[in-house]
Structures are given as structure tokens and as C-alpha cells.
Symmetry: C2
Subunit: 315 residues, 2 copies
């Protein structure tokens, strides 16, 4: 094992870059803008220039780099190639080959951003010490990543861990972004929680601080929940039941050591874990009832950590 | 890689034993009775005696055996030990250690029977040529096994692939064998199909051959379905919708290359695959809609094949 590795989490706006020691310590992190013009043709050259600049600055030779792991906001094939990435403007981009050439033959691996975030949380975050986990990212949508035996379950069609699109309500009438109806993310994302709250507010209810809230957001709902607001209690209860039941079904498939909950909604903290964990236990297959729940702890850096872990297989 | 391996699938009544060439060819198979008396203490000595007898008969030396894979009808820890196996009378049985000693140090690995059957179907059966699959066994209950990257997903609690206990009906009032309500196996096992048929028969319906059937079994239902019986069509339709939807949710987690359908109910053949596959496609997340369906092809030998594959990792 060589001394260093790079993790590069490419987002639609910025690339988060980290220089790591192979043992896991983050040496330095920085960001560069993602230039999506002209089919995103400058993205990898920009990344290469930034990495080379850092190597020069730190006097790190090519032979001291174990590899470069790259996270992509879209489906990635097992060989690291990207058939289509709308967010970056890419089509048929072979990331390991192209970036490898730009970096004079340094090993490059690539993975989907949600999956590498899950790997990062397993390695140095909320799932540290575990070899298997299901990461649940509660953001604008509901994302997921599954790690079994320290490896990403990418899926035959890049849909491994697409848990936001598990159908939880066959009676839903409003379509999900995916075109189907009743997906988990229609209820348990930040957007979904806001919707559940607005529905509750539109029905007869006791006075609630949310009646006068400037904005009915997932954060406002959880803040009100912490203040014992009954309507917020009802909304969080519904959210927790839906998510807890969905996770109990996921447990019958992947049976992970831990569920790691991340994304903006997870900033609600322990009260969220407690509510979801309780509903999970009530619904779970007996053998799985003891699966732990943890909050993600690397925030937006999780992807960068997971990226470098892709090339540091044995660390 | 040495020349031979043994697969030993231990069931509650008989042990199915196979002598394989490492390349995958079955040389010979036979059965020995499973002696569950006195806490099943004779099971492994009986297996060892049978294997040694075969080695002597075939003039196969210890050094020609790559290893012995063993399937157990219960949860198996990653190290191959069995905390509790009611069907065999075992408690805290370290199979690799005990059988390894009896076999003069030959490598022994052990796995759960449903999981090794899935591995066997991937290696030489309905999933041959694939590296990932979800096996669905429709028997008295609904069992499952998940293979990702040619490896069994055993689960942190031995519940990997326990897909029969995914909750598909939150409104169920009758309990499942697991104590919970609304599990997949309450509708899609042989028992479940019989129940669906009896329910349909008890309601107002057009004349059906099942009205006069000697026994309303899953086989009778599928036979009537093949004969265009309308009530059987309704029952198979319900079965297929429930199973197809459950598999569409499993696809959002594991996203396998293929679903392999086995167990007694799968003897209904292609009509079953077609009905379930159609409902799956209607419910599936778009990326997953192309996942293939195949019938299991090794029957009761699947476990024996998967067992030997446990010790032939690179073949």
C-alpha cells in the first residue's frame, strides 16, 4: 500500500476533493467548480490539474499515490464507465481510462455518489467498524447505498440501493418523479415530510406552532416535534411508521449490521433515530429487530471518503 | 485447485451428498439418512463415514479434495458455526471444525440451505452465467437467497434473503408462522395460493373446475389456470400481483441480473414466470424493468451444487 490516495466527489456544481493518507486520515480537502459546459468536457482535465497542483505543492510523487477514487452523480458501470450523466452533461464517459491517462497512469476507480457516500460512512463515519450497512439519505429525495462485506452493491442496472423508489403506498394518486406512484421518497424525503405536514394542517387539528410557521419545512416539523407540538407528533409518527416499515422489509433482503441515516432531514438528530427505530422494531422480522440505527457523521464529505476507499481496498 | 470437492446438503430427513469435479461436473450423488436422535450427534460422523467410504471406493486421496461444503437448514454464522438448528437437534455446533477433524483436516465450509441453493442455481442452474441473482423458493413457505458478485448475502443476523417475511399486506388479520401479519409467504407459498383459492371459492363466482377438485392445492390452481379456468385466473392474478410487486421492491435494494424461481410451486413452469414477470414489469422502477426471470433447474440438487461451490471459490 502506497502512502496517499485522492477522493474526488464530482457534483453538479462543485467537485469535493480530498487528499488522504492510506490509513484513512484526511490530509487536506478543497473544492473546485464543476464546469458542465460543452458536455462537461473540462471536468476531468480540471480535476487532473487540481490534483497535480496539489502533488507538486506537497512534493508528492506519482509513485506515492495508491489511486484516485471518483464519485459520479449518476449510474456507473462496474468498469467505472458512465453511460449517461445528465447532471454533468456526460455521455459514454470512461472515467478510469480518461482520468488515468491525464494522471499519467495512476489507478482510477469510479462509483455512484450515493453508493460511495455509503462506503465512506462505513469506513470513517456512522457505520465505522461495520462491514455491512444500508445508508438512507433523507434529502430532497430519498437516496440509498448498500454495503455488504465492505463492498458496494451497485446492482446489475445501477439501481442497487435505490430505496427511495420502493413502493410503500399502492393507493397513492400523485406521481413520484420516477413516474410511478407511492414511492418511499414521496413521504420520507424533506419534500415528503412537508407534504405530510401540509396535509395534516389542511385537516381539522389542534392548534399547532406550524399553523403560523413562515415555512412548513421538514426542519420546522422536527423543531415543532421537539417542542411537543401534537400535529408535528402526528406527522413525525406517520413519517417514522412509513420509513420504519420500509426498512423492516429491506432488512429481510440485505440484513445489514446498521442503518445509517443521513441527508438534510437527519439533522433532526437522535429524536429522528428514536422514532424510526421504534417503528422499525415493531415491524421487523424477529431476527432483524436488533439492527442498529446511527446518524451519518461525515456530512457532505462522505462521498469523498468513500471515493478514496474505492482505491484503498485493503486499508 | 485440486481435482474434487464434496457438496453435502443436510436436511431434516436425509443428507444429499455429491462428489464433484472442481470444474463443476457432478461425478456421483447419493443420500444418507439424517439421524437427529441425541441432539443430532451422529450426523457429522455419519457424513464423514460416507465421504471416506466414497473416497476409498473411488481411490481418491485426501490431497485430491479441495474441500467439503455443507448446507444447514437454519442460520449459519460467517465462520460456519450453527448457534441453533431445531431441524437437526443442534446447538452451538461448529461444523467446519468438527467435520474438518473427522475428515483429517480437509477444508470445510458451511452455509444456510436456502442460500447455498441460490448459489448452486447461479453456478450450474437457472442463473448460470450470472454473477448476481435473487432466488425465490415457492414451497410450503417462501424462501429466498441472494447472490451478489457470486457471493451469498447471508446477512448480519442470518436473515439475508428472508424475503418470505417481507410485509405485503398491512391489513392482514391472520398471523404468519413468524408471528407477524401480512408476510409475502402468507399469499405466495403453496399454502398461501391454496388459501387465496379457498377464499375465492367461498365468494360468489363463475363455475370453476376447482369447485369439484378433490384437493384445492397450488398445483390444482395452476392446472386449472392452464385450462383457462376464470377463478384460477383470478387467483393466479392476485398471486402474481403480490409477488411481482414484492420483487419490484427487492429490485430497488439488490438489483440482481435475474430472479430465479424455484420450489414446488415453480413446477407450474413458464405460465408462472410469465404472470409474475408481467406484474413485476408493471410495478418496477424503470432501470430494473429488464431484470430477467428464470426457472430454477437443479431441483432438490441445488443445495448440493451450492455447497460444493462454497469451497470451489475460483472455479
Amino acid at each position: 500500500m502506497r502512502k496517499y490516495g485522492f477522493g474526488v466527489d464530482i457534483g453538479g456544481t462543485t467537485c469535493k476533493v480530498g487528499l488522504f493518507e492510506a490509513a484513512g486520515a484526511l490530509v487536506e480537502k478543497w473544492e473546485i467548480p464543476t464546469d458542465t459546459r460543452e458536455g462537461g468536457k473540462n471536468i476531468l482535465p480540471d480535476v487532473a490539474a487540481s490534483l497535480k497542483g496539489k502533488m507538486e505543492e506537497k512534493k508528492i510523487g506519482k509513485d506515492e499515490i495508491e489511486g484516485i477514487g471518483v464519485g459520479i452523480p449518476g449510474p456507473v458501470q462496474p468498469d467505472g464507465s458512465v453511460p449517461l450523466c445528465v447532471n454533468l452533461g456526460w455521455k459514454d464517459k470512461n472515467v478510469p481510462e480518461e482520468l488515468g491517462k491525464l494522471m499519467d497512469g495512476i489507478l482510477v476507480k469510479a462509483g455512484n455518489d450515493a453508493n460511495v457516500a455509503a462506503l465512506g460512512e462505513m469506513w470513517q463515519g456512522g457505520g465505522k467498524g461495520c462491514k455491512s450497512l444500508v445508508m438512507v439519505t433523507l434529502g430532497t429525495g430519498v437516496g440509498g447505498g448498500i454495503i455488504i462485506d465492505e463492498k458496494i452493491v451497485a446492482g446489475a442496472n445501477g439501481a442497487g440501493g435505490e430505496i427511495g423508489h420502493i413502493t410503500v403506498n399502492p393507493h397513492e394518486t400523485i406521481p413520484c418523479n420516477c413516474g410511478r406512484k407511492g414511492c418511499l421518497e414521496q413521504y420520507c424525503s424533506a419534500t415528503g415530510i412537508t407534504r405530510l405536514a401540509k396535509e395534516a394542517l389542511s385537516e381539522g387539528h389542534e392548534a399547532s406552532v406550524l399553523d403560523h410557521a413562515k415555512e412548513v419545512s421538514a426542519k420546522a416539523v422536527f423543531d415543532a416535534y421537539k417542542g411537543q407540538d401534537p400535529l408535528a407528533g402526528q406527522v413525525v409518527g406517520k413519517f417514522a411508521r412509513i420509513l420504519g416499515k420500509a426498512l423492516s422489509n429491506i432488512a429481510c433482503v440485505a440484513d445489514p449490521e446498521v442503518f445509517v441515516i443521513g441527508g438534510g432531514v437527519s439533522k433532526a438528530g437522535d429524536v429522528l433515530l428514536e422514532a424510526v427505530g421504534k417503528c422499525f422494531q415493531e415491524a421487523a422480522f424477529p431476527s432483524c429487530a436488533g439492527i442498529k440505527f446511527a446518524l451519518a457523521s461525515l456530512g457532505n464529505d462522505a462521498g469523498m471518503y468513500g471515493c478514496v476507499k474505492l482505491v484503498l481496498e485493503n486499508s
